[in-house]
């Protein structure tokens, strides 16, 4: 699988992502600078976490206008696979490649803690190594992860099976109003969404930081292993 990781000024989880990808593919992904106006041949583009442009104005707003995003739109239009994590998810919503927006966390504080995610949609390139209803642990680290969208949009996402992950407790119980299991207050406890063609996935938590037992577990690995299986034909 040929993967590329986009680096914007202020991106800071590109190395984490590279480590995770390398550990499942055996080869280092290429780093793509935000100013580039053409893309190499790639199976997967990852928009990693961090604080592109300092999170100033709105998280992801300025990165969404980077030259490389034009290429990424074309890549998406041709059916390319894109994973956006944390700031990457915010950038995908700012560019309109994914619906909705991410507001300040309900408690108005930055949150850095483990959370539990329930897999809502199996069989996508991002979730094929889980079953629907599986629960896994992953760190999250963000100040603006509170997912919102208008009611029509949310109904459509729910109806068409485009919710990838939901925040839950360790047993998989979802309670939108519970700040312990739905820490940032996201609508319908939505933690990750898919594009209509299911080839773009955006999520707030960081599966890339849980791929090595040394760091406390490998709960995040199935996502990356699944991508490799799906994209290497």
């Amino acid at each position: 699988m040929k993967a590329g990781i986009v680096v914007f000024p202020g991106t800071n989880r590109e190395r984490d992502m590279a480590i995770a990808l390398r550990s499942v593919t055996g080869t280092a992904p290429v780093m793509l600078w935000h100013g580039e106006t053409s893309l190499p041949d790639l199976d997967l583009i990852v928009l990693p976490g961090g604080f592109s442009y300092g999170d100033y104005l709105r998280c992801g707003a300025m990165a969404a206008h980077s030259p490389i995003m034009r290429e990424i739109r074309t890549f998406a239009a041709r059916g390319g696979h894109i994973l956006g994590v944390c700031n990457g998810f915010q950038i995908l919503t700012e560019t309109g490649l994914l619906p909705g927006a991410l507001l300040r966390n309900a408690g108005l504080r930055f949150l850095s803690q483990d959370c539990w995610l329930r897999v809502e949609e199996a069989g996508t390139p991002f979730t094929r190594n889980w079953k629907k209803g599986d629960v896994f642990r992953t760190p999250l680290a963000h100040g603006d992860g509170n997912y919102v969208a208008d009611v029509t949009t949310v109904d459509r996402l729910e109806g068409e099976g485009l919710i990838a992950f939901r925040y839950s407790d360790a047993k998989g119980v979802v309670d939108v109003a519970d700040r312990l299991s739905n820490p940032n207050g996201s609508m319908n406890a939505i933690a990750g969404v898919l594009s209509e063609n299911r080839r773009i996935c955006g999520m707030m938590p960081h599966p890339e930081d849980l791929v090595d037992p040394l760091m406390g577990g490998v709960d995040g690995r199935p996502l990356f292993e699944g991508l490799v299986e799906a994209l290497v034909q």
């Binding site: 919503t93 507001l103 969208a149």
Partner: protein, 80 residues
Amino acid sequence: MKLRVTVSLKDGVLDPQGKAIGHALHTLGFVEAGTVRVSKVIEIEVNSTDRAQAEQRGREMAEALLANLVIEDFSVEVVS
């Protein structure tokens, strides 16, 4: 000339910051405080002599970058 672009959350989008401020005001004894909404004001010095054109450019800036129309509304004024 100076443009003032005000960006606010759309009606119906929950404003957690406004809610928290309202709560804090009550705690501090400002019991008369009702709904609180927080907006951003972006003031931009522009090199222009044509007010109407400046305002038009301000709208373009807002649409392109300053506001996220999925969740926000904006207004533009030329202030000097």
